[in-house]
Symmetry: C2
Subunit: 381 residues, 2 copies
């Protein structure tokens, strides 16, 4: 049926009607007073979301562009950096650091688990010349959330910067930039922030600025020094995606009106219900409860059944889209996002659809058993 | 009056209601068949617009990001390059090339004039080791259109690549990528293409690919090699701004339905009418007729009057926004864009508003004289 579709991938995510409507406003000039007022207001709201007093910069790019900005502005060729790698987005930090000529020390942790902060401490002790530690808050490829607070406190005791990929988590999972000593937090618009893709958002600490000022790597579009020149006037260095700024303002209003604590509690509830449902269906979750992501749940396909076969049925029969596995997880797992503009009924749809799809691909389940388990979580039973 | 505003700056430009409406469609996954079909269709339409058989890549960034992509993918540290500089966007090529460690030879031409192709030929003859020539089709800061055809034919006789900034011109001014030997044409969404900011679009020739493959500069988000891996499947390397893709498709349909020849003729007519009106008001145009831009007209403020004072009155009294001068032209000129979603009535509004604003700032003109001159051009008198 036209216009009935259920997008449940970890970005891009559905955009709320209020935000869509806001973005239909006429285009405004990017050097106009109207834009500057909008920009100033957005930054104040983002500082609440990030729990920071730091300056926050909005780049017109997808999340990877923001990650490249974080690397290009802090890593000079020959610098030693530490990357925490337990999935595709951890790997991206390593790839980016290599591009900029860094000597990369990788702390690999098993895909589906979260990183042990003590290992970060050991790596820093063994390599006191590490300049930057790159971490992932929410590893979207596996559905893991890392303990940014503990890692941040460790890195803060060293001269190294702490850079965190918050692309898929920020807006759905709490982050305390100042208290947790995150020098650069970088995120994207199209995940928990409920916007179309096209913006990368990052906060910069004073400790980070000192490194950025001394940095030698080539950068222009992503240059934070160029951006900083325009910041006091609430301008951007280059033409910003003005309609996405308008949408971001509306999305932040929605989140602040709901209350950030409620937003985070909602995501945890959706996670818990999804996991209970998956277990009730006898399927295997990829992550332990202790580091399970509040915004995306990874599930192994039953033995002998391709995860992508299940996904195909879901798309074809019910217009429900789950994400597949990436890299070595391809066709082995599917991922259900409950991220951003998602409520209890989205989980019900996901699970009911999954039950029917499993039936169709020849893996009989007790229809309704998963839905019931989710309902029980929602009812607090 | 709320919702009555006339944005006449050379980007971002107003977005047609049909395009706005298209972009309110629900978000689709960026690895979905729906996206791939959309992407494939857009590229075919862009190839008509660019008049090329080359592959065309769409990046999620503003126009400057596309320019950085063109530099980062073709310039290795130590390469000698030639930049043609007659305004702020020509200077941007030099700045970008310096960032990537190039030895930059600047061919400076006077702001407000266009570059003499013979000087390009002389520079290439004197420096046969030039690797890339960077030019600007439409120099937005001065309102000049350069002779890309003649320059392209000269560069094609050398091993150098010919890279053209078409950010503000493409969609309003004809370009023939293949026939004029443009190796990389790079443009943006928010100018003549009638979209919000957020996309950069570029075509890549076979000659360019050879250089790109051998290039040593750091790049990741803007890496065309990474983009090329995904191209056969109509995917992008990183999450694209899917809603802008939907809008781009709608905008291209509008342009192709109007007919590209008609689009270009419309812009020339708007230019001619604007220039006739300015002359009728006794003001001085910045550019000669021979290289006057079809999409933006630069006008000197009358002696003793700040261009920005005129602009302020226009904004405050009539909600009309002209652009100001940049860098050394600040407060000396104003720029009227007739770019993209612009018709005869937009010129009438611009000129009638300008007449009244001039009156208010103490430079009396014959009210209606400029409007009449524009009308005569429209009527072919």
């Amino acid at each position: 049926m036209q216009d009935k579709s259920y997008l449940m991938i970890p970005g891009p995510t559905p955009v709320p009607p209020t935000v869509v409507a806001a973005m239909t406003a006429p285009i405004i000039g990017h050097r106009s007073e109207g834009f500057q007022v909008l920009h100033k207001g957005i930054i104040a709201k983002l500082q609440k979301l990030f729990q920071t007093q730091n300056e926050i910069y909005i780049l017109t790019s997808s999340g990877t562009g923001g990650m490249e900005s974080a690397v290009a502005n802090t890593v000079s060729a020959g610098d030693k950096v530490l990357t925490l790698v337990g999935g595709k987005f951890g790997e991206r930090w390593s790839e980016l650091a290599h591009q900029y000529g860094a000597e990369v020390i990788e702390l690999n942790y098993e895909w589906g688990t979260c990183v042990d902060p003590r290992l970060v401490q050991e790596a820093l002790a063994a390599n006191p010349d590490i300049k930057v530690v790159f971490a992932t808050q929410n590893e979207t490829s596996t559905g893991v959330v890392n303990d940014i607070e503990s890692i941040g406190k460790i890195v803060a005791q060293t001269p190294a910067l702490f850079v965190v990929d918050g692309v898929s988590g920020v807006g759905g999972i709490e982050i305390k930039v100042d208290q947790w000593h995150v020098d650069i937090l970088t995120t994207g618009s199209q995940k928990s922030l409920m916007l179309p893709p096209g913006l990368a958002i990052q906060s910069i600490s004073d400790k980070a600025w000192q490194v950025i000022e001394a940095n030698k790597s080539p950068r222009y579009y992503f240059s934070l020094l160029k951006a900083r020149k325009q910041y006091p006037k609430w301008n951007t260095a280059y033409t910003p995606a003005v309609s996405l700024f308008v949408g971001l303002d509306a999305a932040l209003d929605m989140m602040l009106n709901e209350g950030l604590d409620n937003v985070y509690a909602r995501h945890k509830l959706l996670r818990d219900a999804t996991r209970a449902a998956i277990r009730a269906l006898g399927l295997k979750l990829m992550t332990e409860d202790s580091c399970a992501s509040p915004v995306v749940t990874s599930v192994y396909a039953p033995e002998g059944i391709g995860a992508d076969d299940i996904r195909k049925v879901l798309t074809k029969e019910y217009n429900i889209t789950f994400a597949g596995g990436q890299a070595k997880l391809k066709n082995k797992i599917f991922r259900i996002a409950h991220m951003g503009f998602a409520d209890q009924m989205n989980v019900i749809i996901a699970i009911a659809g999954l039950e029917m799809a499993l039936q169709k691909v020849g893996y009989p389940v007790e229809l309704g058993a998963g839905v019931k388990a989710a309902q029980q979580v929602f009812l607090g039973e």
